[in-house]
């Protein structure tokens, strides 16, 4: 039987999905399974590593049977995963020593404060391109080593292993305790704070800073190469790619040239800009990260800016205000009026992130008059996502010296035509939606297919990419400038709301 398909596993924050793609990059079958979210204390979010592994063993066969194909027809497996989520497990038994600590988990906030002012912190941050923050794996791993008696010593002896989700899955897919491969890829390693962005290796000084034994760390590999052959779930199939989910979306959107950028619009939104083989250090509060690395080639870097509250603002509008009964209805409501009526909403629900970084800021609705109705509020909700995208793009243009010429978009909010038009209007560049919305899974499949020769080269992948929709800027320059100024003034009203050092958690 010929190998006609590539399988991708997207191990996400709420669910694990398996998608089968054909040679043209078309989606052939999807299977999905949610896993439980554990909130043992305020600010803590955990997953059960074994549950996630069980889900992988369920969704992969289900997707294959839906597609009506066997393992012998699968050319390769690619993995995309929720980033930064941290797991430590016993090398002999394969049992996690503790629940996985999820990227959103803020239990490390006091630890991070201490680390940020410790000697050497600046070197660590410069080396890895990330600010000291609770998101990243390094502080989470340090916390686990602190909190679990005897774990540090076991780690030093190599009895326990650390990994993010792709590492955990690859280890299990290739035999687990029975010779499983302990590896990670450059994109995931770049989210630990432990890797040197330039050498693409664990840096001894960073490991010493966090107090992490090298023996527990996986080997860093490229994002697209044959790591090994699966012995479980899809025995005999090559595992040929791993990328963090946002980097996978960048790859799936075929953003292969410097200046190419994509934005994934979900609960929050993630904008990544390809900066080529040069790691650009941000002076505007963006993250420097590895975009991808194809085996034997130099790594391609990216600047990343995220907007914390986008889709979640629409959810707030639906659930907390009750002005709509489903998220898509916000467009219907917004279209009942011609403009925002002078009303602006800045959703600084837990401070402002890139590029402002104001933890003390809180959300505002400004410009209220008796004229304002719920339609204007709906407009203001959508426009907030547009302007926040603009702020991140402005910061990226300033940092990279590359002026964005088009923005590729994906994610659930791209179904909102009013929003997509507004994003095009305020960025003053075309906004383009590709034919396959599942860019995260597609990116992992592309990287895997590339490694095994299923697709010949990046150019071949680019030819698979097709435009499904495009929104062209229509706003005149003066109007854009006026609205931008209004937005900036609205943002200023959020500053300084929380007095002194009132904790937000």
């Amino acid at each position: 039987m010929s190998e006609s398909y590539v399988v991708s596993i997207d191990q996400g924050t709420t669910s694990t999905r398996c998608i089968v793609f054909d040679r043209r990059g078309n989606l052939v079958a999807v299977a999905q399974r949610e896993h439980r979210q554990h909130f043992p204390r305020p600010g803590w979010v955990e997953h059960d590593g074994l549950e996630i592994w069980r889900n992988v063993s369920k969704v992969v066969p289900r997707a294959l049977s839906q597609a009506g194909i066997g393992a012998d027809e699968v050319a390769a497996i690619g993995i995309a995963n929720q980033r930064e989520t941290t797991l430590v497990w016993d090398r002999r038994t394969g049992v996690p020593v503790a629940p996985a600590i999820i990227w959103q988990d803020t239990r490390t906030d006091t630890l991070v404060e201490t680390l940020a002012s410790a000697p050497g912190a600046e070197d660590v941050q410069r080396r890895c391109g990330l600010p000291m923050a609770t998101y990243f794996s390094g502080p989470k791993l340090r916390w686990l080593l602190n909190a679990t008696p005897g774990l540090y010593e076991r780690a030093e002896r190599g009895e326990v292993l650390f990994g993010t989700m792709e590492t955990w899955l690859i280890w299990n897919l290739t035999g687990g305790p029975d010779g499983g491969l302990h590896i990670t890829d450059v994109t995931n390693a770049s989210r630990t704070m432990l890797m040197d962005l330039h050498s693409l290796r664990w840096h001894p000084d960073s490991l010493a800073f966090f107090g992490i034994p090298a023996a527990m760390l996986p080997e860093i590999r490229s994002s697209s190469e044959v790591y090994g052959t699966a012995t479980a779930v899809l025995p005999g199939v090559r595992i040929a790619a791993a990328l963090g989910d946002q980097q996978a979306a960048l790859f799936g959107q075929t953003c292969f040239a410097p200046g190419d950028a994509k934005c994934t619009y979900g609960t929050g939104s993630f904008l990544l800009l390809n900066t080529g083989t040069k790691a650009v250090h941000s002076t505007h509060g963006l993250l420097t990260t590895v975009g991808y690395q194809i085996a034997g080639q130099p790594a391609v870097y990216a600047l990343e800016g995220s907007v914390a509250i986008t889709g979640s603002l629409v959810q707030w509008f639906r659930d907390q205000l009750g002005l709509i009964s489903s998220a898509p209805e916000i467009e219907t409501l917004a279209r009942t009026v011609a403009d925002n009526g002078g009303c602006y909403i800045v959703p600084a629900f837990s401070g402002l992130f890139a590029p402002h970084w104001r933890a003390e800021a809180r959300g505002v609705i400004v410009g209220l008059t008796s004229y304002i109705n719920k339609g204007h509020l709906a407009r203001a909700v959508l426009e907030a996502t547009g302007w926040q995208t603009r702020e991140v793009v402005d910061a990226m243009n300033a940092d990279s010296g590359l002026a964005l010429t088009a923005l590729r978009v994906d994610g659930g909010m791209t179904a909102n035509n009013l929003l997509m038009q507004f994003v095009a209007d305020v960025l003053d560049v075309p906004v383009v939606r590709p034919m396959v919305a599942e860019t995260v899974s597609l990116g992992a499949a592309y990287a895997a297919g590339l490694a095994v020769g299923f697709w010949p080269d990046l150019e071949g992948l680019r030819r698979n990419w097709h435009r499904a929709a495009q929104w062209v800027p229509q706003m005149d320059d003066r109007h854009r400038a006026e609205e931008h100024e209004n937005w900036q003034r609205a943002v200023e009203h959020t500053f300084g709301w929380i007095k002194s050092d009132v904790r937000t958690d």
């Binding site: 209805e329 219907t332 035509n417 919305a437 097709h466 435009r467 499904a468």
Partner: protein, 255 residues
């Protein structure tokens, strides 16, 4: 003459009961008032809840009339909701068929385009969401008219405009075409609006089987039709599959 359907009579009584009560009612109160076993009452109230005629208060668990009852006369499925729910099925239809895909609903006697996916050849195309198409001269429109008698007679009485010499302009021709669509479950348009262009469409059904929209493809007649001038069976199958998939998502499919 068929007999009375008991559960519908009970559902109607339940709606009257809820309409006449000053506050919300619990399932026990409803069952007692109508002298029904609790399980039976629960089954009916849950069905009414699924179609939006009844709403359940989250905290008390009690029931009241639903907002959908107030909008019975207007379209019950929000068009932006329809787009969100169908976007993942419209894209593959465009890729598989190589043609542009549109989703439409009826608005004041015209077809409103609520979603548009470009033909996957990366040529310059313009998003035409929000535009209005003539219902009698498009596959989308004819499919929508086939399941909306009032709209169909309004179009026939309004004197349908001829776009090409193949446009159906007589009430008889149109009625025959609509009957065929109902028999086949899909419809087509061959050079009825623009010479050289053709389209295929199928109905999207919402809860209870009600047609809430249509999904279809359109493109050059030599790509959409066979040499004999009839729609290519493979494309018809793709369109019907996509329509069925969206309907299934909306809870309206029996397949």
């Amino acid at each position: 003459m068929p007999g009375q359907v008991q559960s519908i009579a009970r559902a109607a009584a339940m709606l009257r009961l809820l309409a006449n009560s000053s506050g919300r009612l619990g399932i026990g109160e409803i069952a007692r008032s109508l002298d029904l076993p609790k399980g039976t009452a629960h089954g009916i109230v849950r069905t009414l809840q699924d179609v939006g005629f009844v709403e359940q208060d989250k905290t008390s668990g009690k029931y009241q009339l639903g907002a959908a009852l107030l909008h019975l006369g207007t379209s019950y499925l929000d068009i932006n909701e329809l787009r969100s729910r169908s976007i993942n099925w419209a894209d593959p239809l465009a890729v598989r068929s190589g043609q542009a895909v549109r989703i439409g609903t009826l608005l004041e006697g015209k077809v409103l385009v609520v979603h548009h996916v470009f033909r996957p050849d990366d040529t310059l195309q313009t998003l035409d969401v929000g535009t209005l198409l003539p219902p009698h001269a498009t596959a989308l429109g004819k499919v929508l008219l086939a399941y909306d008698g009032a709209a169909a007679s309004a179009v026939m009485q309004g004197g349908p405009e001829p776009y090409t010499r193949r446009t159906l302009v007589t009430a008889r021709a149109l009625a025959k075409a609509l009957a065929e669509i109902r028999d086949n479950g899909w419809g087509a348009e061959v050079e009825e609006m623009t010479p050289g262009e053709a389209g295929i469409a199928a109905p999207i059904r919402g809860y209870g089987g009600l047609v809430v929209g249509a999904i279809g493809l359109s493109g050059p007649v030599d790509q959409v039709c066979t040499a004999q001038g009839s729609p290519r069976p493979a494309l018809v199958a793709h369109v019907r599959d996509a329509a069925r998939a969206v309907s299934r998502d909306l809870g309206g499919a029996r397949w």
